[in-house]
């Protein structure tokens, strides 16, 4: 049993970052929902467990915005699964989000790492 502490050890996602992570994951190639969760977990060194309750609404929202497209295909395990694929507009959006994110990180760390001067 993981209990409450299990959750505490995980990284809480900032608002809007999930979309970016999903798009980034899909840049490696089409994947189904479970695959995305697993990929994020592995890449984060088990630190990031994406809630399915956030993942699926996010995927459907991205699809409505035209950033991803989905189709039903057979998975490796011979299971019919819905595969999501990033679209050209999705890629553009991701590049934009990334540059904004980097900007923000730079600004934030500039403030957070500065030593207070008297």
């Amino acid at each position: 049993m993981m209990g409450r502490n299990g959750y505490r050890n995980r990284v809480e996602l900032l608002q809007g970052t999930l979309d970016m992570l999903i798009l980034r994951t899909l840049q490696w190639g089409p994947a189904h929902g479970y695959g995305i969760v697993q990929a994020l977990r592995t890449q984060s060194g088990e630190a990031l467990q994406v809630e399915t309750g956030s993942l699926y609404p996010a995927l459907h929202r991205l699809e409505r915005q035209g950033w991803v497209r989905s189709e039903w295909k057979q998975s490796e395990a011979n299971q019919r699964a819905r595969y999501y694929r990033i679209t050209a507009t999705g890629k553009k959006q991701l590049a934009q989000d990334l540059s904004r994110w980097e900007q923000m990180v730079a600004v934030m760390s500039g403030i957070l790492k500065s030593t207070p001067t008297e």
Partner: protein
Amino acid sequence: MNWRFEKRKDELDEEIRTHMALDIADRMGRGESREQAEAEAAREFGNAALIEDVTHESWRWRRLERFANDLRYALRALRRSSGFSLTVIATLAVGVGATCAMFSVVDGVLLRPLPFKDPGGLIEIHESGKKGPLSYGSPYLDIDQWRQRSRAFSQIAFYNSNIARASFLEGTAGALHVGSATVSANLFDLLGVHPALGRGFSARDAGNSVKADDEHSLLLSDAVWRANYGADPGIVGKTVVMNGERFSVLGVMPRGFTFPFAGSNTNGMPLVWKPLLLKDEDVLRTHNAAPYYDALGRLRPGFTLAAAEAELKVFQPDIVKSYAESRDRENANSISLRGYAASLVNGDVRKALFALMGASALLWLIACLNATSLMWARALARRRELAVRSALGASRWQIVEHLLMEGILLSGCASLLGLGLAAGILKLFQHGLETQYKIHESLTLNLPVLGALLALTVAGALLISAWPTFAASRTSIDTALRQGSPQQGMGRAQRRMRTALVVTEIALSLTLLVGCGLLLRTIYALKHVPLGFRTEHIVVANMTIPSYKFAGRDMTTALYQPLVDRVKHLPGVESATLLTDVPLGNTFRMIFTLSPKGNSADAIRRAAIEAQFRAVSPEMQQVFGFQMLRGRFFNAGDTQTSQAVVVVNRAFVRAYFGDDRDPSKILGENLVSLGKDRRALVVGVLDDERQVSVAQSSLPEIEVCIPQITPESMFYKVAEGMSMDLAVRSEQSVSLITPELREALRTASPDLSASTFSTMDQVVEDSFGSQNLAAHLLEIFGGSALLLCLAGIYGLLSYLVAQRRQEIGLRIALGAQQWNVMSLVLRQAGWMLVAGLGIGLGMAYLGTRALGTLLYGVKADDPWTAGAVALVLLAGGLLASLAPARRAARVDPAEALRAE
């Protein structure tokens, strides 16, 4: 939409299942047992249903889904109480049907836009004087003066539209009956409508009469072009034959264009237009020498009707100075203007329509009140259900949504049903609508009618559901759940509300019924006016006369006499007569004035006499049974060679002598000449009869005998060639005699077979006019209102009795007699009725004033009608409350108290 939604839901389901399956497979691959893997996967996944819900929201279809849910729920709730739903739907449908039918009539008659450019600026110009506005038009010289002097009008056109009389336009398949109007060159330009093919008439000069080059040309309407020439695109320039005369086609007007506007006297015939060329007599100033034209002006922007009228009134006395005779000057020394659109519908019709529209709106309101009362009762009965729903987490807004959805559903169904009812009502009154309002189409679903229907639906839904919803949303869950039996449902305030609803219903119904009663009395009075002639067993044929075919021949001997002789010998025919127009027929009217002799006061008064003119056969008296007051009627001895004679009526004598003390004094007087040196003597005086309408008393009349009229007579051209009715007295049924008559007419001349047939009874009925139609419609509206109102009383009392069962049981247990219990209920009914009738009488007093001019033989505030109607409602109301009262009296005290 919905199936797509379902499909996506299924897909999401599958997606989640796949996710779980992959997870389980992974875990099992890592060596977990199946149970363990399944449990872990499910735990990690979380609440699948919640995830589905959240995902649905991201589709933005959540609202739609909720709407669908509401709809499904409402449908289920309504189906469960189908009796209730059907009652509400039927109730509302009655109101919607009546209102929708009346609105579509009003829309068709009053709101239809005229298909002309800026129709508000089109003004009819009439001269007026001692006798009021002149309806027969103005001579060219006057019209031209207005054109030259007026600044208020940018253009003035004139036309002669004797279009009630058929012209015969020869085509590929026989002659087409068309109406032909003679128009000035600028008329179409003034209307802002231009020929779709070819060109219009060109003007001779600034006066706008047509150039002589265009004399034998013709403009076709689109309808004629299609019907007679198969929409031939090369028609312009071709020669066509109308009434035996050759015309070359100058152009074709656009589709849908009619002028004078359809609905005036076209008898449904398609139109053609002839050029108006001036003749020598157009510039004469002697009495009746110049032809009269209808004048139509276009207001210059910035001028009002009043300003234009004031302007013309300044010139007019100067213009009429050129008239040769003083009586002409006196009759035309002023001006009266009227908007063209307004002239198409006379004031009485407008009033009748608004009164009926108001009546139907009242009926709708009554229906809504009734439905509200029903919905209320239901909302109270469902209070516990709603409380349970809100205890389970439904928000107040969700409950309101549900109830509104039910209201919309009920109202929507009612509107559909009402639409059917409206079509039915219009079908039922088709004949009346055609003769009274010239509406030929049935229910047309155009934009205004659909808009009105939608408005009624939404307003109805809000009316019937808003109030109960408001009440329901305010109920606290706690009390509703704790209350033991639904019988305690209604609080005092709510009971008062429902009572107020029923009282209002009674008041509104009384208003409607008083209006209905007044019109029924009007019809009764009209039906009992002594007409002065018999109407039963008379068939009337209104003939379309191809007079051009008899040019150069005497129609009397060539057509009319042989026709009458033939018809008289048909089996079953007692007698037959020709006459220019049957009494009350209103298809042809000719006014006759006497020429003055000398300058005495008497002579001047006589010159002012306007008499109805009628040419008849000697057999007319046998057919119609007119009473002779003095002298004799025409007989077989009155021929072309015998002494010329005329017959006048009593009203004529009265007008001629100033009184009618001794009508025989007029016998032997010479009033008119039937031709050169054929001075006609008065040989008889007819008793009074109704000529124009039943409600209008007898007008002076002068009659001539058809067999005496020769082509040389001035009466020949105006009477015989224009309009002739054939009236036949026969004991045979109308359906038997009509085909025989049609055949006889066809044999006499093929063109006569298109004549229209009617019966004298029908002619009389049609002449009651608006009253008859309004009375029949109000009968339906009033009857429905009465039924709804009684149903409302019954419903409320039944509910109250059910609610007070325990109290009543207790009373009976304590010794109350049956009668005591019954009077308890009846007293309640009596209260509502007295209050409702009191308010209703006040409303009726104010409301029936709108009927004013429609009434005949009864006043709008007639106390007898109001009293009788109130009594009927009172009796009906008490009758409706008898059943609940008896139910109350039969309550078994043991049973009622046990339920506690």
